[in-house]
Structure formats: structure tokens, C-alpha cells
């Protein structure tokens, strides 16, 4: 997270940490399900996933990972050697048993199907990914970071950055958001973008986006205009509910 600040325990209780085999995050959506980005868990064995909840500090060693029963990657997600299309970047994780909810571990609400994501709408992205702090770049942060950022216009989102000299695809299943010196970053993938933003103090908060992709954060410096792309969750609510129903 660029331009963010440290979260307090219980401030973002739906935030889950994934440390292995890929570093990223997920969001708790019920006591037995989490949602993340497909590219974080695609192709990995469920037994190898180390997923934690109820914490903000990654250095805590007394927390046990939540055992994973199943990973369901969206069937339309396509992985490529050089990824230029993150369309349908969403996956569901089912826990082996229900987790015990508490003040530090609570689910995030899913949005209505046709809620819409408005230009200028302020939300909060959070994660333990790369940050620029104390004039230094850090690959990850120990304490969960969060930042309030506005949703950008479709016109701006369509101006996708070129990665590996390839044109990146922007679809209706995405939106982009960011601001001056404020962005999600590498290692935040799979984590939540919730609205209303946390600092508004108004709830409940809805998971309207999942951190998906963007330009390398360091490029253009730590204070330039940033733009991250997020999976538009409202397009997948029916898919999520259908899978949950079939799996119950």
C-alpha cells in the first residue's frame, strides 16, 4: 500500500493474510468462505496455502493458519506466461470448518448485483504488500496498511499501462482507482477495496473490489499519480452465491 497508514487490530477484521505459496491477501465473506484474486491461488495445492485471519502483524507466530478445504478459481480466468489480461481475477476459498468470528475476525458484506461503481467514489484498499516508508521501498510491511482512494473514470481506466511492452486489457469486470501517492501495490493482490472508505466512519462496508493488477508501484516514484485495477465484485456476487449454495 502506498500512501497508507497502519491499521489497528479489529479495524479491518475481514482482512486475511496469505503468506504461502504466493504472498497476498483475501477477504472473509462468511464464517467458512473467503474471496481473493485468482492469480494468487491459481494452480496451487490447497494444502500449501497458508492463510491467516484476525491479525494485523505478520510477525506474530502464535496464530495458526486456517485450514483450506477447497479453492475455486473462476472458470473464465486465464493464466498466461506473460499475463496481459486479468479478466475474471477472482477465486473463492472454502475453509475446512467454520472459523469463530470475533471482534478481530468478521466478514465483509458483498455488494448488490447492480450496485455500480461510481467515478469519484471513495474506498479503502488494504494489504501487507510493498510500501514506500522512511524514504525506502519495502517488499512487504509487517503491519497491515490501508489507504483511502477514489475510483477513477472509465476514460482514465481505459488508458492501461503497458507491462512487459504488452498492452493490458481493461474489461467491464474491472475498475481502477488511485490518487496522488496513494495506491495498492505488489503483495496486496487478493485484498479488499471496500466502500464507504473506512475513515468515513459509516458502515456497513461493502467489498466492491479485489486488488488485481497495476503498473509497478515504484515506477514514477512514490509520489506520482498511481492507478491500480480491481476486480469488480458486484459482477461475481451471483457466481459466489451459487457456489456457496452448491457447496453447503
Amino acid at each position: 500500500i502506498l500512501g497508507g497508514k497502519a491499521a489497528m487490530l479489529g479495524e479491518i477484521p475481514w482482512q486475511l493474510l496469505i503468506t504461502e505459496p504466493n504472498f497476498g491477501a483475501a477477504s472473509l465473506i462468511s464464517d467458512q468462505w473467503a474471496v481473493t484474486a485468482a492469480h494468487v491461488v491459481n494452480g496451487v495445492a490447497k494444502e500449501s496455502i497458508k492463510l491467516y485471519g484476525g491479525l494485523i502483524d505478520t510477525t506474530r507466530t502464535d496464530v495458526s493458519p486456517i485450514p483450506v478445504e477447497k479453492v475455486i478459481v473462476h472458470s473464465s480466468y486465464r493464466e498466461a506466461l506473460i499475463q496481459t489480461n486479468y479478466n475474471n481475477d477472482i477465486a473463492l476459498i472454502k475453509f475446512r470448518s467454520k472459523v469463530k468470528l470475533g471482534p478481530n475476525l468478521l466478514p465483509i458484506c458483498l455488494p448488490e448485483v447492480n450496485r455500480g461503481v461510481m467515478e469519484g467514489e471513495q474506498g479503502t484498499a488494504s494489504g501487507w504488500g510493498a510500501s514506500f516508508q522512511d524514504n525506502k521501498w519495502h517488499r512487504t510491511t509487517d503491519i497491515l496498511q490501508h489507504v483511502d482512494i477514489p475510483v477513477m473514470s472509465l476514460t482514465e481506466c481505459r488508458k492501461t499501462p503497458r507491462l512487459s511492452n504488452k498492452a493490458m486489457t481493461f474489461t467491464n469486470n474491472m475498475f481502477c482507482a488511485g490518487g496522488k501517492g496513494r495506491d495498492s501495490c505488489k503483495g496486496d493482490s487478493g485484498g479488499p477495496f471496500v466502500s464507504p472508505m473506512l475513515s468515513s466512519g459509516v458502515g456497513p462496508h461493502y467489498l466492491i473490489g479485489i486488488v488485481s493488477w497495476g503498473s509497478p508501484c515504484g515506477k514514477g516514484g512514490a509520489t506520482g499519480d498511481k492507478k491500480g485495477y480491481y476486480t469488480k465484485v458486484e459482477n461475481y456476487v451471483s457466481w459466489i452465491n451459487e457456489i456457496k449454495k452448491n457447496e453447503t
Partner: protein, 413 residues
């Protein structure tokens, strides 16, 4: 009691009693008899309220005579002696005393005491015979008019009635003395019994008249008991009960009267006919519903909604077929039991739990109430579920996770 005969007299009689003389005399009677005294002579110093010299006679502690002065024999015989007797089985006490002086010599008193039989029949408090009372020495006994017998209480005369008419296929039954007034305190039992495939039919005659209070309660009553039900009580004087098809091979008719009234009673004739089956209506209904079914006729029984046949464990059918038997019984015959949804299997660690699970009624139509055991869940939908006729609960509420609401942490310093 061998000593209960003799004289009682004042000390020194007939020469005269001295000052400061006294006598305390008591005799008690056996049960059913009294002790009496007949004074033949009384000559004591006279005084206001007999406060100087006196004879006090009391029965069981109650003063019945206070005597002094001079009384001639006739006066004693006519006005004093008739009072001097004890209660039956009680004690009679005579106290005599003289004071410190007499102005002249007085001879004193003399009386004859004896046992007397007490005539209980003349005492309404004691005599409870409803008909006749017979006194004898030491007691009494009751007897009854013709047509009555003495009840176990030895006082009440009860009308003789009741008969065992088993085996008779037709006949008459009537209250005692019909068509005259029936006996008081009657307790009659008439028994009718015929073969199993027959049932008894009762037809009451005109003139039915069994005592009824102005409020409509039965003072006397007629009841008819079959193997499955009791008909009645019947009373009143018009009209008689309708003809009764008892559906039973065995009938008992009870007629009970109290100790008063002047009513005619009842008369009925009975006969038999083949038994029929009656439609089953308890929590169920039958196809081709008829008033009665004859031997060999079949019907389908359908349990009411929410009831199932208890023919076999686990079989939740609502219908079965049955046939009328010669003895008026359906076979097979199953009860329609109310559906029981059972307690929903929520799991020991489920967030959703029942309120007061031990007290919840889980039968058809009843509701059970739920709650969520954790503050981090909210109950979706109603908090109740209803047991349906198919043995399933209506859609049960769900405990949904509270989402998107971090708990506001304290910022106090």
C-alpha cells in the same frame, strides 16, 4: 351396672341431717339406657335460690334440678321426677349439702334410682330410619316396607331393583313399581348381554318421568353404559330419550333415585340387531362416508391433515384400507397419530440454536423458536419455524454473519 337400682338419701334420713353435711352421688348408664331418680320425700331448709341447704341434680355436668324446702309426694311425682334422668349412656349426679345451722330439724330427702331403657325411635336426633324404627332395651333397629331392602348404613331403605338379563334378546326393563311412583333411594343395575355379532337397541316408552330439578339438573338419573361410552344421565318428564342403537353387545343400565320425589320412572323394551361399523371420524375421515357400514364393506380411511397412520414405524402414510367385521369392528384399525417433526438437527456447535429445546412442542402445527448464540451473527427471517403436515419444518431461520461492521474500538485514553 348391677348396682343401678336402689335408694339414695340424705345422711341421717329420716331422723334429720346435721349441719355441714354433704353427699356426692353419681351413677352412669350403659349405652341406650338412662339413669333416673324418683324422689319420694323432700324436706330441706328452705332458702332463696336454695343457697343454704340444697339438692343439685345434673346430667353429664348440666344442672337439671335445684331443690330445697318441702315438696309433697304429688308435686315430686308430677313436676320434679319427670326431669330427673340422664342422657342415654350418660351419668346422673346428685349433690347434697347443708349449711352451718338449721332453725328447726329437717328430715332430708329420699329417692329411688333405677335404669330405664331409652326409646331412640322417639328421638329425631337419633332415629334415622327412613321407614320403620324398632326400639329394644339398649338400642333400636330399622326395617323397610315390602319392595325395599335395608341399605348397608342400616337406616336407609333402598328400592329393590336390578336384574341380570344376559342372554335375552328382547324384553322389558322398568323402574321399581312402574307405572307407580318409583322407590326412593334406589340403586338399580340391569345387565344385558348378547352374542358378539349382535347389538342391543333400546326403546323408551311414553311416560318417562325421572325427577329433575327446576334448574334442569338430574335429581334422580338413568345412565346407559356400553363397552365404549356412557349415555345419559337422562331425566325429566318429556319427551323420553330417543331410541338408542348401542353398537354394543353388552349394556348396563343404572337407575339411581334419591330419598324424595314422586315420579313414575321409566320403561323400555330392548331387542337386538346385527352389528354395523360406524364411520371413523377421530382425526380422520372415510371415503363414501355413510352412517353405518355392514359386514364385508370396505372403506378407505384418510387421516386429517397433519396426522398419519401409525401402522408401522417410519410409515408416514395418510391412508389405509379397512373392512367392516361381523362384530362391528373395523379391521385393520389404526390410529391417526399427529405428525411429529422431531427436534431439528442443528448440531451441537451450530450458531443457530433452539430456545428452551426441552420445552418445545415438535408436533404438527406447533412452532419452535430459535436464536443465534453469537453476537457476530444476526437471525435472518422469522425466529420461528412451524411443523408441517409432511413432517418437515417450514424454512428455518438462518444465522447470518454480521458483515462489514468492525466493532468500534475504544479511543479513550
Amino acid at each position: 351396672y348391677s348396682t343401678l337400682l336402689g335408694w339414695v338419701e340424705s345422711p341421717g334420713y329420716p331422723k334429720g341431717y346435721l349441719p355441714h353435711t354433704s353427699l356426692n352421688w353419681t351413677r352412669c348408664a350403659p349405652k341406650g339406657q338412662t339413669v333416673s331418680i324418683r324422689l319420694i320425700h323432700l324436706d330441706l331448709e328452705n332458702s332463696q335460690d336454695c343457697e343454704n341447704d340444697a339438692v343439685k341434680i345434673s346430667s353429664n355436668g348440666n344442672l337439671i334440678a335445684l331443690l330445697c324446702g318441702e315438696r309433697d309426694y304429688e308435686e315430686l311425682h308430677e313436676t320434679v321426677n319427670p326431669l330427673l334422668f340422664s342422657s342415654p349412656g350418660g351419668c346422673l349426679t346428685l349433690l347434697f349439702h347443708s349449711d352451718y345451722s338449721n332453725t328447726k330439724r329437717h328430715t332430708g330427702f329420699r329417692g329411688f334410682y333405677t335404669l330405664q331403657d331409652f326409646n331412640e325411635c322417639e328421638d329425631e336426633e337419633i332415629n334415622k330410619c327412613t321407614h320403620f324404627c324398632h326400639n329394644f332395651i339398649g338400642g333400636y333397629r330399622c326395617s323397610c316396607r315390602h319392595g325395599y331392602h335395608l341399605d348397608e348404613d342400616k337406616h336407609t331403605c333402598a328400592g329393590d331393583c336390578g336384574e341380570n338379563l344376559s342372554g335375552l334378546k328382547r324384553g322389558q326393563i322398568s323402574s321399581p313399581f312402574w307405572p307407580g311412583e318409583y322407590a326412593e333411594n334406589a340403586n338399580c343395575k340391569y345387565t344385558l348381554s348378547v352374542e358378539d355379532h349382535l347389538q342391543l337397541e333400546l326403546h323408551f316408552s311414553e311416560g318417562f318421568d325421572v325427577e329433575q330439578s327446576p334448574e334442569g339438573d338430574c335429581m334422580d338419573e338413568l345412565r346407559i353404559e356400553t363397552h365404549s361410552e356412557t349415555l345419559g344421565p337422562f331425566c325429566g318428564n318429556k319427551p323420553p330419550p330417543p331410541p338408542l342403537l348401542t353398537h354394543s353387545s353388552h349394556v348396563q343400565i343404572h337407575f339411581i333415585s334419591d330419598g324424595s320425589g314422586t315420579n313414575k320412572g321409566f320403561n323400555l323394551h330392548f331387542r337386538t340387531r346385527d352389528k354395523v361399523c360406524r364411520p371413523l371420524t377421530s382425526n380422520s375421515n372415510m371415503t363414501l362416508l355413510k352412517q353405518e357400514y355392514h359386514r364385508g364393506e370396505s372403506a378407505t380411511v384418510t387421516c386429517d391433515l397433519g396426522y398419519v397412520v401409525d401402522s408401522a414405524p417410519g410409515n408416514l402414510s395418510r391412508q389405509y384400507s379397512t373392512t367392516c367385521q361381523s362384530n362391528g369392528v373395523w379391521a385393520p384399525l389404526y390410529a391417526c397419530e399427529i405428525v411429529d417433526c422431531g427436534r431439528p438437527n442443528l448440531g451441537h456447535d451450530s450458531i443457530l440454536q433452539l430456545v428452551n429445546p426441552e420445552d418445545q412442542n415438535t408436533k404438527y402445527g406447533s412452532q419452535i423458536q430459535f436464536y443465534c448464540t453469537s453476537n457476530f451473527y444476526t437471525l435472518e427471517g422469522h425466529d420461528t419455524s412451524t411443523c408441517k403436515a409432511d413432517g418437515e419444518w417450514t424454512l428455518m431461520p438462518k444465522c447470518n454473519e454480521v458483515c462489514g461492521m468492525p466493532e468500534t474500538s475504544s479511543t479513550g485514553r
